[in-house]
Symmetry: C2
Subunit: 491 residues, 2 copies
């Protein structure tokens, strides 16, 4: 795979000097065009040590307008980063629409490093690369252009370069112990790199392998590649605006999951009070244990308007210490959020280890309101099922306990509650015209909920369908389910 990149490509000083000004102009022009486009560009610079990754990035920054570029260097994760899923820090560094982000060190670094040091076989590596491919696929689906450059250098050249550096007192500092250690591991590194490049060179995110032996050659090659890829993506974007919705078929189901729920379930006030005390007490103890053991929770609340999400959430938070939980009300995205993949704004709030995050509405908006109201195309919301499953799986692997609640009421009960709320001054603000409008879409929402539960209720992140015509029953049910999940996890 690296044969071509070991030929020792060079560019004469004259050729470099001749090509640089025009490339610079073209890159600036491309950046100008990009600023008006509705997609971000992510450039991953990976490769062998001493291949000149840092120099290439310095040149890119020099050639282009730094106002549209953010370079992120990901090294050993910090304490705060370790408290979150491994990919959190990469999500936080993603560029927004019209922007270019450059990553040195990326989601490839850890899989490669671990495979080298842990003496893992390729099974572990492949599993990690599947994650990586999923992320790249999801970002690319959302319009992001991902440009991956692998800077290669043969073992001989790497050794020669390090030796040359060591000889010169001015450059001696550049050779670290880590570099020398890596040189010894060169062969293993190369075989892992080859596999990584092969497995993750997909049609939408191919790798460019660049010979790193001459910085003039490698920087011009990377620069031209970036120019061409962005130009091509801009053209492609304008061609592919036709909706591809026909290829998705959602099978109409005769029986609705929601209709099968028994909405007559009830608790008397006495039963409720007794059980509320019992389960809140239990939750209080469990949550403290969870904090001690760094068990993180994410609770998702979805449901019809007026189904009692807020009330159920408050019955949970009442049992918790305010220092441990956070309620995230999901409203319209801000302009920074709109400029990113729709999951970005949820990654922002991913809880630290030991915390409890409660979402009052969530990322499921993508397959509920955005589907029903046609804010998202069919393509977009359909692929969201997989994106959401991947996201939740990643949280789970980082130790997050996920529980999702759909609070279900029927149409009559909703109407009764709307009217009731209009009578109570401090609840009046909860009822808007939109709520009445949403009622007209009831059947569409019901179908969307069916699909959502079918496609996203997983072993690691189950949906709990809660009959909620009786508020008391629903609140206790939610407490019970969460307690049971915590008990199971804490053992």
């Amino acid at each position: 795979m690296f044969e071509l990149a070991e030929l020792g490509h060079t560019l004469s000083k004259a050729a470099y000097k001749k090509r640089t000004p025009s490339l610079r102009t073209e890159l600036l022009e491309v950046q100008n065009k990009l600023a008006d486009e509705n997609f971000p560009v992510l450039i991953l610079i990976s490769g062998v040590d001493g291949g000149g990754k840092g120099e290439i990035i310095n040149l890119l920054n020099e050639w282009m307008d730094p106002r549209g570029i953010q370079t992120h260097a990901f090294d050993v994760p910090s304490e705060d980063e370790l408290k979150r899923p491994p990919h959190w820090r990469y999500w936080m560094g993603l560029p927004g629409n019209g922007q270019i982000g450059i990553f040195i060190g990326s989601w490839y670094s850890e899989p490669i490093a671990q495979t080298i040091t842990d003496k893992n076989d390729f099974d572990g590596l492949d599993a990690k690369l599947t994650h990586v491919k999923n992320i790249e696929r999801e970002l690319a689906d959302d319009g992001m252009l991902i440009i991956k450059c692998w800077i290669h250098m043969s073992k001989g050249r790497q050794r020669a370069k390090l030796k040359a550096y060591q000889k010169d007192p001015n450059t001696k500092w550049r050779v670290t112990k880590k570099d020398l250690k890596h040189l010894k591991l060169y062969d293993k590194f190369a075989s892992i790199a080859e596999r990584v490049i092969r497995v993750t060179s997909t049609g939408h995110c191919p790798w460019l392998i660049v010979d790193g032996s001459d910085i003039k050659y490698s920087s011009i090659t990377v620069g031209e590649h970036i120019r061409d890829r962005i130009n091509a993506h801009i053209k492609l974007g304008h061609q592919e605006t036709l909706p591809q919705q026909d290829k998705i078929k959602i099978v109409k189901k005769e029986i609705s999951l929601l209709k099968s729920l028994d909405l007559d379930k009830k608790l008397s006030k006495a039963q409720y009070n007794k059980q509320l005390e019992k389960y809140q007490g239990r939750l209080n103890l469990l949550a403290r244990e969870a904090r001690q053991k760094n068990v993180t929770s994410t609770l998702v609340f979805e449901g019809w308007d007026a189904a009692g999400k807020g009330g159920a959430i408050r019955r949970i938070t009442h049992a918790l210490d305010a220092r441990q939980y956070r309620v995230i009300p999901v409203a319209a995205p801000t302009d920074e959020e709109k400029a990113h993949h729709y999951l970005w704004r949820f990654w922002r709030h991913v809880p630290k280890a030991g915390q409890i995050t409660i979402y009052d509405r969530s990322w499921y908006g993508r397959v509920l309101v955005e589907r029903v109201e046609k804010f998202a195309t069919k393509d977009e919301w359909f692929r969201a099922y997989k994106e959401i499953n991947d996201f939740e799986e990643e949280l789970t692997e980082a130790g997050v306990l996920i529980n999702k609640f759909w609070l279900h009421i029927n149409k009559d009960e909703q109407e009764r509650r709307f009217k009731e709320r209009e009578q109570i001054s401090y609840k009046k603000h909860k009822i808007t015209e939109e709520d009445y409008r949403n009622r007209k879409m009831w059947d569409l929402y019901e179908a969307a909920v069916d699909d959502m539960v079918t496609r996203t209720s997983t072993e690691f992140a189950p949906w709990h369908l809660i009959p909620a015509n009786d508020k008391r029953f629903a609140r206790i049910e939610v407490l019970k389910k969460y307690c049971a999940a915590l008990e199971k996890r804490l053992g």
Copy 2:
């Protein structure tokens, strides 16, 4: 000071039950009104251990609409937080307009804790409190309503409460070693608290001292206080919209700082190349040493359009490793940024220890473009001088080395450069109609620069006025100044 709060105020269960529903309604109404207002509300809950701070916050969250409240519990700072100035984490948690933020633990926690344990006298405490007062003043000036509640409890009651908890196996866990240690330090804590409250009870941010012996009493008292303060602030806001600009007098100066610069300073190409190599080499070594020693840098670039900020920045970054620096181009604020104090968006990018952050335009926009174009009122930009000095002092105290550059060219040179840029395709995008429009405001900008330099060039964060008619001279000058500052710091 605490006499009244030690009387043991209680509220009967009946009275509590009677007052809660109406208070809840009123709080929700207040929240509704607040959502349309152009200011945020920050609630600080401080006080003695065991005073029920957590319970009060739980109740506030239960009574109000959690969609408009964010509770932040600040405990021991994390590794990442320690890498930034102490107040960074508080800034990041500040609510936006129309929102309520509740802080348990706040900028008061560290000053108090340190005074107790370090056996400091009150001089150290007072210096810290001056900082705190400055922040609160600045936030309040920007419209933020700050509500500070001190939950008090007498030593006897605190002891009794802890003992009662310890006796009951269900509540035993609540008594930690820290609580018992704090009980021993009660008297010292109380005397420090008294001083803190006295010194920081300002007209715009007074403390409310609440007797914490009965949660029913304290929660209702805090809830009613919040209701009343927000209502009053909404009323006040509408009264105080008259500009108070007359009280500010900027003295017209005869001699301009900028006009006194010698713009004829020049370097030949040969001199330039030689010095560029020399200073970039030196900077490279210094920057590496700075990284090892965790010396953080902030460079601010301001100057006329086409003064060569971008070019000077690139001559610096060229000497640096892309992993160590970040260029922050300051453009229009996003909607999240607009909903906060204007310094918030700069706090967001405050560098971690050992990093170099380069601002291409900066917080000085407040006293330059916002002053000249009248985007900020005279009150706003005038008080910004102090706010900026405070901000930079805080960075300095956290070990950040600040250097600020004004690149100065004259009007003729600017015109020449505009025309030149229009000829070079990849620089063409840099010239817009706005640039020509800005030229008409030259004199106003000149006066603004004079004031800015006079009021914000401090020992710890000096302004360097760089004659930049000759680009080569300017670039070398900037490199020299930054090298000299680094050398001085590194010793």
